[in-house]
């Protein structure tokens, strides 16, 4: 019972901390070509280790991959995020990922919110552009969100914002939070096109 109460508290709390203002104005007269270019930039972001390491699908093991990790491997110390995706069944992510990110190398990053894995259906790690694009525009696998809501959640979900200020010598995701949100809106305005179309 206590586990369920904690998960409920986390779900209620994730959208209220340190919101960042981003422009959610949908651009007009976006061509298909521009939409595909926006998607290509979005794919660079979502497939970057700062994002994909926690988008591990049915696995409950976060990944360690990227330039500062060498060979891709599951998170050390046998970390399991469990069905809760926040590790509450065994070892909470927040045991180590808590508070602000230190700039010291090899220290656990943290945000002013709950460190957690992405939902199971948001499986990105190791997947290609077409597959992730299809997931992101499908309401059944994108959390039932419109493209405006996808852009909006980048503004208020601080664990995502970590990707652009990871600290500790880690490589940040490409572009910026604002540019990524702008690309989501441009891609959406073009009809959420995927590369084969």
């Amino acid at each position: 019972m206590k586990i369920k109460a904690i998960i409920a508290a986390v779900l209620l709390s994730t959208s209220v901390v340190q919101a960042e203002e981003i422009n959610l104005e949908v651009p007009q007269n976006v061509t298909l070509e521009q939409g595909l270019e926006a998607w290509a930039r979005m794919y660079e972001v979502v497939s970057h280790p700062r994002c994909s390491n926690c988008h591990v699908g049915e696995s409950d093991r976060p990944m360690w991959s990227g330039p500062s990790y060498g060979k891709a491997r599951p998170h050390g110390m046998n970390i399991r995020a469990g069905e809760s995706r926040i590790g509450v069944e065994t070892l909470e992510c927040a045991t180590c990922h808590v508070g602000s990110t230190s700039d010291q190398p090899h220290t656990p990053p943290g945000v002013d919110g709950d460190w957690r894995l992405a939902p199971v259906e948001a499986a990105w790690f190791g997947r290609g552009s077409l597959e992730i694009c299809g997931q992101l525009r499908n309401p059944e696998t994108n959390g039932g969100l419109s493209f405006q809501e996808i852009a909006g959640h980048l503004g208020h979900d601080v664990v995502l914002q970590f990707a652009w200020k990871p600290g500790g010598g880690r490589e940040p995701a490409p572009y910026s939070l604002e540019e990524h949100a702008s690309d989501v809106l441009m891609w959406g305005a073009a009809g959420m096109p995927c590369p084969t179309e």
């Binding site: 586990i3 110390m77 509450v88 069944e89 045991t95 808590v98 508070g99 010291q104």
Partner: protein
């Protein structure tokens, strides 16, 4: 800055960026939590913040949002916490350096998961390192503590 540790409120004159472990050991002279790696990879510094296990080397005192409990505040010699009693019963400790972190982690874990499987125990405790290799005794003590807590 105010910080409540083991039920006592302290007034601190420290930078908010100071790690909680430094505050506990150097400022408040509470030395149960141990310095091991300094980067949350060994678990020796584990304390509770509002009952949840936290690596005190990796949270700044300014980021602490709640009451801190260290091994000194978990139980008393006359009234041991169930985990501490199980640790004695199974004679878990060898050199003992990691043990306060192990016990604090186990106590927090059992508070969340009162009927753990062996796999749950291994997953919960695998980020607390013991260079003496007392892991089999740790697992047995956690199982005993779970039983004690469930019978209470």
């Amino acid at each position: 800055m105010k910080l409540t540790v083991n039920g006592t409120e302290h007034t601190l004159d420290v930078e908010p960026e100071m790690p909680l472990l430094w505050v506990l050991r150097d400022e408040l002279k509470i030395t149960g939590p141990k310095y091991g790696c300094g980067i949350a990879q060994c678990g020796a510094c584990t304390v509770h913040v509002d009952g949840s296990a936290v690596r005190s080397c990796s949270i700044t005192v300014g980021d602490v949002d709640g009451d801190v409990t260290t091994i000194e505040g978990l139980g008393t010699p006359d009234s041991l916490h169930a985990v501490q009693a199980a640790w004695v019963a199974h004679q878990v400790a060898q050199c003992g350096y990691c043990q306060s972190g192990q016990i604090m982690q186990a106590a927090s874990f059992l508070d969340l998961n009162s009927e753990p499987t062996d796999e749950d125990i291994d997953n919960a405790m695998s980020a607390n390192l013991c260079r003496c290799g007392t892991y089999p005794r740790i697992r047995e003590a956690v199982k005993t503590a779970a039983k004690t807590l469930n019978e209470a």
